[in-house]
């Protein structure tokens, strides 16, 4: 079997597996997995920026929160239908992502990371303080996306959107833009010397990544029907980071799978309380040290090596 065919088959099996899960699971786990799809888009959008462009950001959860508030307020105050509210979420988060990308063009490493933390905190504190608009820490009621929609319907909707986002990201990363992104990650001066507009594409990368995060946040709000500033917190960002790193942040699909897997584990280990987060922190450290391509990256590499060996033996 060619690697291409194996990949297509694996993706088909994965999608079919997610499609039949609601037939086997109760409402609680269907709900948990649906939240997992929110994290999947969020972790994949972070991986797109960090893994492919090499630009670190700790504002991804804040961008999701911004998208959540933009969509909710768009529906509440502008009378938009929730679908158009999601469009507004994409636009608002994308536009702020573009602005952050522009403001941080010359920043790298720790300086870039610290600046994005500052942005994230500004957004979270604004959402908390602007009580008249957001109802602060009490949380903002959000209109449902599907009126009277069941958990299973939401499950399939978010599964479809997640798959669609991953396909879009995949197409983007296979295009010339994906090549430019990776050349910037490898060496900005080298990329510029070959005609790549480093300034433009770094800003575009922030905008695209933030737009996906905004969409995820909008979907989350309309599904859960309540959003609070805590979804923009650094602790939430830490969870997204752990999901992408443990899944494998050099591949948007692996990062997405990390999002779903860790959300399921977070629920399965609920009895451990805050110790779950300590455990995830330790696992994240170990994965960074031992499996830079994440657990799924390491697993796929092992399977591919075995297939090559078996192919060679024949």
């Amino acid at each position: 079997m060619t690697p291409q065919r194996a990949r297509t088959l694996a993706l088909g099996v994965l999608l079919a597996g997610f499609a039949v899960l609601p037939l086997l699971l109760g409402d609680y786990w269907i709900y948990t997995l649906t939240i997992g799809f929110y994290y999947a888009i969020l972790a994949a959008s972070w991986a797109l920026l960090v893994g492919y462009v090499g630009r670190i950001s700790f504002a991804q959860a804040a961008m999701a929160g911004l998208g959540g508030y933009a969509s909710a307020l768009g529906v509440q105050h502008l009378g938009l239908p929730p679908v158009l509210g999601l469009g507004l979420a994409v636009l608002v988060s994308g536009a702020l992502g573009l602005a952050i990308g522009w403001l941080t063009l010359r920043l790298h490493g720790a300086y870039l990371g610290l600046t994005t933390i500052a942005f994230a905190e500004i957004l979270r504190i604004t959402a908390t303080a602007e009580y008249g608009l957001t109802e602060g820490s009490r949380g903002l009621q959000v209109a449902p996306l599907l009126t009277g929609g069941s958990r299973t319907e939401y499950y399939y909707l978010l599964l479809g959107v997640t798959a669609g986002c991953l396909v879009l990201m995949g197409l983007l990363l296979r295009s010339r833009l994906g090549l430019f992104f990776q050349s910037i990650r490898e060496d900005e001066d080298g990329a510029a010397s070959l005609g790549v507009n480093v300034t433009l594409w770094k800003m575009v990368a922030f905008a695209i990544s933030s737009a996906f995060a905004g969409l995820a946040g909008g979907l989350y709000g309309h599904f859960v029907q309540l959003i609070t500033p805590s979804m923009m917190s650094l602790q939430e960002m830490g969870i997204v980071l752990a999901m992408a790193v443990i899944g494998g942040f050099h591949n948007v699909l692996f990062a997405a799978l990390g999002g779903v897997a860790l959300q399921v584990l977070l629920e399965a280990l609920r009895e451990l309380g805050e110790w779950r987060l300590v455990a995830f922190g330790l696992v994240t450290l170990l994965v960074l040290r031992l499996m830079p391509n994440g657990i799924f990256g390491a697993a796929v590499a092992t399977i591919a090596a075995r297939m090559r060996r078996n192919g060679g033996d024949e």
Partner: protein
């Protein structure tokens, strides 16, 4: 009188209190292969970095075929036909050799992937890297990395190539091959400015040699004139042959 392909007038660059280039004038015609030599810190790489858009100038002008290039970004100059290599190669190590080439081939936004791939494979064959096309650039040897950087620059179809120490750490046999390719590209009409401390290569390849010292051009002549120039011997070659 024809317009020089690259005309540098009164170019000044300062780093704090240090004057790296002190009102440099240099005119280079189409199809010339010019060697740029001088002791460490003489301003050679600074000059290249300004011509290719990486450093801003503090004074003076640079014109490419009559058009000012000062203030333009490196990617704009690359697309305008000014290609360059770096003293320490700047390969995209986690990308394949072919993908390294395609970054240059697709950066104009219009060339199709098929056309860029065909051109890339032709250039890789020309530089004996074809069989490594699908290997990661990280797996290349130092010499192969230098060749890949050559090939990437040629993907831009440049009018001028600025080569910064291309022979550093390269095996003599490979250096001979690089000489052949540089001479062939130059014969095809590409203007080349070559920085090197390898005087054998400079004197073999270049009909004109420009010597910089402390930001000033102290000699601009043929290899023979350069070899015998007292100022050059005093500032640079003397220490090489001393």
């Amino acid at each position: 009188m024809t317009t020089p392909q690259l005309e540098i007038s009164g170019l000044i660059k300062r780093f704090g209190g240090l004057t790296a280039l002190n009102s440099v004038d240099l005119s280079i015609g189409q199809g010339e292969l010019v060697g740029l030599i001088g002791p460490n810190g003489s301003g050679k790489t600074t000059l290249l970095n300004i011509v290719s858009g990486y450093y801003p100038a503090d004074g003076g002008t640079i014109r490419h075929s009559g058009t000012s290039v000062l203030g333009k970004a490196p990617h704009q100059l690359a697309r305008q036909g000014i290609g360059r290599s770096f003293q320490i190669t700047k390969l995209f190590k986690r990308l394949t050799v072919l993908e390294n080439m395609l970054v240059a081939g697709l950066s104009d936004g219009t060339t199709s992937r098929a056309a860029a791939t065909e051109r890339a494979m032709g250039l890789l064959a020309d530089l004996r890297l074809e069989r490594l096309a699908h290997e990661r650039a990280a797996s290349l040897s130092g010499g192969q990395g230098k060749l890949l950087e050559f090939a990437r620059v040629m993907m831009l179809e440049p009018e001028i190539i600025l080569l910064d120490e291309p022979f550093g750490g390269v095996h003599p046999e490979l250096k001979r091959f690089m000489h052949e390719r540089i001479a062939a590209w130059n014969a095809a009409g590409v203007t080349i400015i070559l920085i090197s401390h390898d005087m054998g290569s400079i004197f073999e390849l270049c009909a004109r040699v420009v010597t910089l010292s402390y930001g000033d051009i102290i000699c601009d002549g043929t290899p023979d004139e350069t070899r015998n120039d007292p100022a050059v011997l005093d500032a640079y070659l003397g220490e090489q042959h001393g």
